[in-house]
Amino acid sequence: MRLGPDMKIQIKIIGPLMYAAGFSEKEMDVPAGTTVDGLTVLIGIPKERPRIVTRNGAAVSPDGALAEGDKIAVSPIYSGG
């Protein structure tokens, strides 16, 4: 797939996944067309780590495409203590 020019997204990494990514929150430029899974690989979270990704507070599927201005959060699958 051809990826387009960069777009800005905000990303927040929740829980121990932030130690894999090396940061907990930042604004990032990602190529247009980047998927949710593509993003998690880009930030260094191994594919096999169970996770839930939300956009503006709602879950998004791994192949969902990101859009300019998205507020993305990547969290482990918590089970609520």
Binding site: K12, I14, G15, M18, E25, G57, A73, I77, G80, G81
Partner: protein, 612 residues
Amino acid sequence: MVGWTGYFLRVNLTSKTWKKEAFSEEFAHKWVGGRGFAVKILFDEVRPGIDPLGPENKFIVALGPIAGIPAPNTGKAVVAAISPLTGFYGDGNLGTRVAEHLRKAGYDALIVEGKADHPTMLYIEDDKVEFLPADEVWGQGTYACNDWIYAKYGKGVGVLNIGQGGENMARFAVVRSLEGRAGGRPGVGAVMGSKLLKAVVVKGSRPIPQADPAAMKALGSGDLRKVGQIDKQSGWSIQSTTGVLPFCNEVAGLPVRNFRKTSHPDAWKVDGERCNNARVATYGCPTCTMRCGITVLDDEGRESELDYENVALLGPNLEIFDLPKVASLNYLCDEYGLDTMSAGCVLSFYADAIDHGATSGDFRFGDAKRAKELLGLAARREGPLGNLLADGSLRMARAFGHNSEAYAMQVKGLEVAAYNCKFIPGQALAFGVAAIGAHHREAWIITFEIKHTTRESYGPEKAAKVIELQRIRGGMFEFLVSCRFPWIENGWPLDNYPKYFNTVTGLDWSLDDMWRVADRIYAMIKLHYLRQFPQADRTGDYPPRVWFDPSNADTEGPIAGKFLEEDKYDGMLQHYYDQRGYDRRGIPTKATLLALGLAEEAAAVEKVAVLT
């Protein structure tokens, strides 16, 4: 019978007598232990209608066949009584060396009856039981009491104790063990206090009976190591439960301002990353290899052990976003022996009721200083305000009137744990049908709802998920008596638990056998409820009414304009009843009770209430 000690220790504080009481193999196989034992003993021995804070109530410490055996993570005990907060069966679990010691002393449960004539500490060592004066520490908090006990007996003994909250019978007082936090949210600590029982100390020296001790040792210690390694890989215990706070904030599920709001821009100030950064020590239950307690210093330099529930409910829920101040409120709850969750909801309800003109007072959201004072008043039941707060949010609402019960965040009298279900229907159901009131321990389905279903759905799949988790979390882990965290947070396979059970007992049970016991226990708790409240109907399984209120909907964020729809919630509740074999009131039908082997208990209930 192998795998159980086969005995209860029955202690009477009034007569200062005790006896070792055998139970049958049939009883063991039917109720297994922990919650199963407690629910049955209290049903058979405590008649409905008694004053939960009177001498007729009983305080139970119950263990299961794998409790205290080195395996993941078995240093837990169930404490139970008829609840002074909810009026029917109430319990909780906590990490404590009592689990191992009571079993090594030769008992699977302790039943405490009557009332002492002065503050008492019960000392149990194998076949010796002593009733010792505790006047010296009566009036002191749990930390000082614990130090006093350790100074007498050394740090290796098992300890359960109460603080001023329990002594003064605050209805949400817990039982504490410095070896592993607190348990018994629905006022089990108040029941100890009503009996003038300040502490229980246990030291056991015999081997715990097991079918194959060598095999269990190899299996259990190997698995403990593996669970520790898995946790290192996942990193879960770095932030432990506090990691979930930003997730709740992100998906509009955080309790903020008495659950009026679902997220807050300052929530990050008390999130898991900040908790871990502030860590000065790590704290864990006995035998645990994924120690999850994060100890930080509070604003007075005292060590305070945090988890998500207490941070969320004593922090954002009170609009306090200063971690040392939140830690200080948490420290005080632990010192006084008050449940942190109920305490957070009681204070937030009080501030909200003042805001809404239901009562007058000088407490406002964000006021940590006054919050500290109020906790002290509640723990000491000092003055009319202290007495009011100590009675919990439902009784407060009934005293205030002005429709404030709608935003008293409780179900069946037990305050809601730290998940704001303004628009998380399945989790609202999980709170509604939690056996003892709005506890998160039994079912937590938020990630499932958001990731695998539509949040808007009120369908049968959510009811099914709640039942699946109740069987595991509120059932198996509570009757085997073991910590659920290896499974829930680190994916430790569930089929390990029948393996431990079978190795210890020599039986050949499957997970399905476990679910049958779990269903029996859930039905029994409903029978307790019906026996106490014969007019009970399905509205007892409704969440706080404010979640149904359109005017309470968020005005921005992911669930803007959304609220729980009452008729749809009711439909989902009916799915739950249908799947469980309960009638329209939410009571198990006679056919369900018979299928679960509860004919005798059904007959007992039919003397005071109707079964269909």
